[in-house]
Symmetry: D2
Subunit: 439 residues, 4 copies
Amino acid sequence: MFLMLFVPGILLAKSASEAALPTSDSVSGRWVVNTDFYGATIYFRMELKQEGEKLSGNFDGDKLEGTLKGNTLYFLAKDEEGGTDEGKGTLEGGTITGTVVFTHLEDPAHPETHKFTAELVPPRRAGAAQHHEFVPTTFYRQFSAANKPVLTIAPGESVHTTTVDAGGKDEKGVTRVLGGNPETGPFYVETAAPGDTLVVHLTRVRLNRNWAGSDDFLVGRAVDSDLAVKMKDLGKSVRWRLDAEHGVATPEKPAEHLTRYSVPLRPMLGCVAVAPGPAQAPPGTGDSGRWGGNMDFNEIVEGATVYLPVNVPGALLYIGDGHALQGDGELNGNALETSMDVEFTVDVISGKGIPAPRVESDTHIMAMGLAGSLDDAFRGATANMAQWLTDGYKLTPSEVAQVLGTSAEYKVSEVADRNAGMVLKINKERLKALTPVAK
Amino acid sequence: MFLMLFVPGILLAKSASEAALPTSDSVSGRWVVNTDFYGATIYFRMELKQEGEKLSGNFDGDKLEGTLKGNTLYFLAKDEEGGTDEGKGTLEGGTITGTVVFTHLEDPAHPETHKFTAELVPPRRAGAAQHHEFVPTTFYRQFSAANKPVLTIAPGESVHTTTVDAGGKDEKGVTRVLGGNPETGPFYVETAAPGDTLVVHLTRVRLNRNWAGSDDFLVGRAVDSDLAVKMKDLGKSVRWRLDAEHGVATPEKPAEHLTRYSVPLRPMLGCVAVAPGPAQAPPGTGDSGRWGGNMDFNEIVEGATVYLPVNVPGALLYIGDGHALQGDGELNGNALETSMDVEFTVDVISGKGIPAPRVESDTHIMAMGLAGSLDDAFRGATANMAQWLTDGYKLTPSEVAQVLGTSAEYKVSEVADRNAGMVLKINKERLKALTPVAK
Amino acid sequence: MFLMLFVPGILLAKSASEAALPTSDSVSGRWVVNTDFYGATIYFRMELKQEGEKLSGNFDGDKLEGTLKGNTLYFLAKDEEGGTDEGKGTLEGGTITGTVVFTHLEDPAHPETHKFTAELVPPRRAGAAQHHEFVPTTFYRQFSAANKPVLTIAPGESVHTTTVDAGGKDEKGVTRVLGGNPETGPFYVETAAPGDTLVVHLTRVRLNRNWAGSDDFLVGRAVDSDLAVKMKDLGKSVRWRLDAEHGVATPEKPAEHLTRYSVPLRPMLGCVAVAPGPAQAPPGTGDSGRWGGNMDFNEIVEGATVYLPVNVPGALLYIGDGHALQGDGELNGNALETSMDVEFTVDVISGKGIPAPRVESDTHIMAMGLAGSLDDAFRGATANMAQWLTDGYKLTPSEVAQVLGTSAEYKVSEVADRNAGMVLKINKERLKALTPVAK
Amino acid sequence: MFLMLFVPGILLAKSASEAALPTSDSVSGRWVVNTDFYGATIYFRMELKQEGEKLSGNFDGDKLEGTLKGNTLYFLAKDEEGGTDEGKGTLEGGTITGTVVFTHLEDPAHPETHKFTAELVPPRRAGAAQHHEFVPTTFYRQFSAANKPVLTIAPGESVHTTTVDAGGKDEKGVTRVLGGNPETGPFYVETAAPGDTLVVHLTRVRLNRNWAGSDDFLVGRAVDSDLAVKMKDLGKSVRWRLDAEHGVATPEKPAEHLTRYSVPLRPMLGCVAVAPGPAQAPPGTGDSGRWGGNMDFNEIVEGATVYLPVNVPGALLYIGDGHALQGDGELNGNALETSMDVEFTVDVISGKGIPAPRVESDTHIMAMGLAGSLDDAFRGATANMAQWLTDGYKLTPSEVAQVLGTSAEYKVSEVADRNAGMVLKINKERLKALTPVAK
């Protein structure tokens, strides 16, 4: 069946009532239409342009025409195949309440009627961007659109906060919640609506304690049958000392041949997510998908920017699962798991979506592929980057192929969870010769 | 059935007779036993230590005892399960000629008798290492042990030569051979015997013409069904200008959005191979395996060292398929294919094998995995590196897991051929804290 | 981190209070221990044997000793490595309320203390098995342990009910719920406790309307890049007529070459599930796993028996997603989706778990593998069947290998969802020569 | 590079001179053009129609026009993009000898000139089909076009022969050749030319000795890391007694729980192959591909028909690797390996190729997919069957999708070799409603 966007209706009503103030004399603008499908919510985007009583624009991408007479609104949208979406409603206090009738070309005798409420996406706030200090007290174990936002922030604003480690322990070593990557958030980002892209720029990802937990296991995806036999007795915990001053991690009780072994610290966030679209049940915080999640990619470090597709009003940003450092693949199932001191700023790219998570560093653009095998993740990363080069630089398919063939850099992000991850990176030096499309 | 090592017997006889000179008064040393299995050759290694008439050592790893009376040799070797290898032969002109009887514990009533000839592996030559200038005239399209060596070289010696491009064109653009990665070689490396490791250090991998051929295709492994549809009309040739002075490649007739696009040159060899073991038919030069081959790994550049497991006497080294540069994966099926000016030195690590190809650069050790899917190649690379850390640094399984978990760097080498390739890299900085086993 | 079993505590309390009545004079029996981990529930099994004031048995498999003095209970359990679980509690009204302290050998200085309540698993009810007629009014879109059971049934009892189709339409064509495999249930099965196996025998899987919806799409997992291009314009709905009298389905408006095409009806259930364990977020009804779910296996038909591992008290059985028939793999994404008339009986195999879903027909035992690729699903099915032969017939690893090598039959169940499915079948004729372990 | 068809020129010349006799007064007919590419042979098909001095037809599928004046032949063929193939030659003794110039649109300034000889494909012989009794004395270990045919047979003719087992042992238990699936053949099939389809109908596949060799191993592709550990000590030989009278196989020395275990005999051929196309090196007899080979599919039994694409003149048919029976997947690496008594008839479908091997039984048509992973083999089988339904029944893509969605039956053929195999079967009952295209 077709993909749907929904969250429990109460959330949208609530958050929107705080933020959305339609201008007094016009319904022109971008609306989020919260539609009731047999008790479930599906979101549609609607763009309206009002000229006198006449309305134009689109409903879910289909060209729309309509009228606003007094507070009575009517619209008719047609898709290319000849199906129609016909809406009737009443505007009151900035909210449109009404019904929409979907008529499918394949089965015109059975139109479907659904109730809806629509809210205007608020304009971007003027004035100085605020900085927020946020001390988390609740930690969530699902990337759910039903969790109440802990803070509302505007595009351009920054948040300073902390995360607990994957096992639920905070910077003092106190267990705050059952493990499994409990998250800080969700943060409600004003103006973010389904179809937009959320931009999360990490300005600070630093250690806030001097130890990490890990183990000596090798995950099943990494071992062939011979190596499985050799590794059969592994699985014990390994605790690491984190020396921020010298920038290294060392095993607290090193084994015989690792007494001098140390690894440079490179603090990162294993999880950055938005609430996923309602076509799926709210995933656990060990999972990943086009909405981000537990990507365990060791280049999501201080200075990196993460792009995620928005699926619900406010985006609902989650962060968690800090690693003091991690080898590619997170081969032990755990990296060097630790709590973290984090600061980030958010922004919203309005009306432009992306197919899957993307990351940007000073030197590279990076497209992620997340799937049930490395082979599928590889294809996913390639498709994600091909789309980036097409949308961002107007390249033709042939040009995309030439750039990928000469400049692709692939690395494995993760093999420890249900999805494996691959990343396709392009050096920004190569992109300097291309002409970016304005955002 | 068990894995076997063989090449046509005539080759061994020929090359060995040139090189192998057993000392007059002893059979002590490392022997290659060329055994006739119903017309096919299988190699076994035999180590002999002579004290008077008494012989000790091993046959194919099984402990051996025996006698040498006059020129009549007898030995009996036993494996751990109780099977036996019993040999009788005559020493004449440095060659032992005889029969060996294999008795398997599972079927002791049916011993198998095979004729053999054995040759002593020659000692490493004393004196200054020679340099060879070699101008190729024949180019092979199979990595075969049956191809006559074009040159015999000793460990420590260097060769300066050239390779034609994947399509068979040389530095002047003249087609010399049908395409498909035709190879320069094979080079016979003295003292190399089955079970050894061949070391190929590339001291020069430079362009010798100013253009390369490529295309704008994307290989099937890289595209999901959506991207396949977008890319459906691709497949045309793209010729690149190679500007060695400025160190960049640019399309000769760039498409609209690529008029300023250029990529740094990074000349590499797509193929470095030894003749594979006789458990398999001689593979074509588009294939890869534990014997190396068409690995298309873009870090096999000037300065890199390639390690390959020796399967036949003399190793039989092939090189070819130069790329002016290549993105990870060789996504276009072709990289920037060009002829090449190459110099290398060889060495032999005696009596120590490796499970699959390895590469070393100034900064990293790199273990390759080559298999029918990226998932299997990933497991192969991991197992290869785990073995390296075990054999090279005496790490226990737990220690291997900890080092991999914190230091693994995975990249995709190639997805364009029958085998996909993944590489697991470890930064040498991390290894400085470990204690290497003497080679 | 280790795998955990939890459901919201309120459910267990509620259902258990209805069903569990400890005998007045003894705590001997099987207990489910509902433990509070920072607000989340984790289940443990505890077996107690009381002799006077002395208690023996096990806690989560670890040997336990303890005392019951008055209504004060104490126990200490030790695992093989030396870790301990120490419990103290008070017995009142059949419920033990207390705290348990976990001390891990690796970190003995930091024991963890958790509150718990424990309920006795009720004995199997005596008397005649009841038959239940159940008319569903609510349909769930997640396989969740938090959904309130719609009916409580005892082992041996049967239920007659209906399911809506994958799009939420019932036997009259009325949409009852948003699509995505909405489920009938959950049914609470008395005596089923974590670690048991639920047995669902389908005594009736019949059509209750005369049409099904499908389409002409081919899912991404089934097409290579060439076939993707050929199939690029597909995706339209296809409605099928279901002729129960003649036992065939035919397209309502057949395309040119399919005017005479018909397929035998073989009604099946795409979904049979129990609530999954709390190590994961409640999955959507399009997903599958060791708890069953949307397996889309076309041998789950009338007469088949499905085995699922119990993860929460009462098991919480869901059924849905009826197909009038389905080719292997569910290649169109949809099969012939229709509502269904279903009857089943349940049973519980106490204290014996299984690693993944299994199915039994008159002729075969069948072990499922569900994973992110067919290669991993293949390994999963093989491991599942190897365990079945080991546990069910006491075969040694060598004997398992010989039986699988000579008798394995593999088929693809599904490729349309996030997990692919493979099934390993063994003909029961082959098993007649083996000696089954008593259940 | 593009795919090429070649075999060493001597073979074609030889075999063709025996068979091809152009009619005295015309060159009309189907020609095989043996072209010299820098020492290698590439085949092209050419169809000529002569009317007086005027020639029409096609060269490698490109429309051709030309002249024959005396014994001087000229032709010019153009492809759709504007490239040309221009030939000049002399007809003498039924052979055309000359040169052909290929001009590529992309690089018109550099035409390529190659020498060729062309032979007419002989007409199908009239008269009664012969029966051949063939006693093999040589057994090949590569599916090579360079092996001398052991027998020339005409379409419609039958051959009765034997095969040795995978280890090289014949019906008397005598080892005739080194193991690894040594083959009987190759048989040269008259009129078979590149682009045709060879039809091999197996009229007899029977045991000719009373024992088979196997083992208790499980191949790496079948085991996950847990099962690998459980199976770590396996690998011993298991000998089976073959009881043709009762139609069962039993272990000669059964393990404790298998004393009553027996399996029905179902003799099959693990290998049926033609010589592969010259784009690849001659593969070993453990490999498989579009040319067939070691497919290890347990429905290639007496009564089955195998279809293979012809790549070289005469097709060069090989058979071998008999199994007394085999479970799906050949999980032990070996099936019940035995020698075999075989009879088959051959036929040629002229001018119609197939993308990969196909098999037909009384009840099913079956399309094979052979690739480096089960996921890729699955896609290969699907594409192969989609093509079969398109070419054989004129189905549109939408119709193909509907038939596959409702009628696909997938099974695993093999996981023991480099390629994994999947088979997509369609029951012939379903095909009765479709209209087959005349062969």
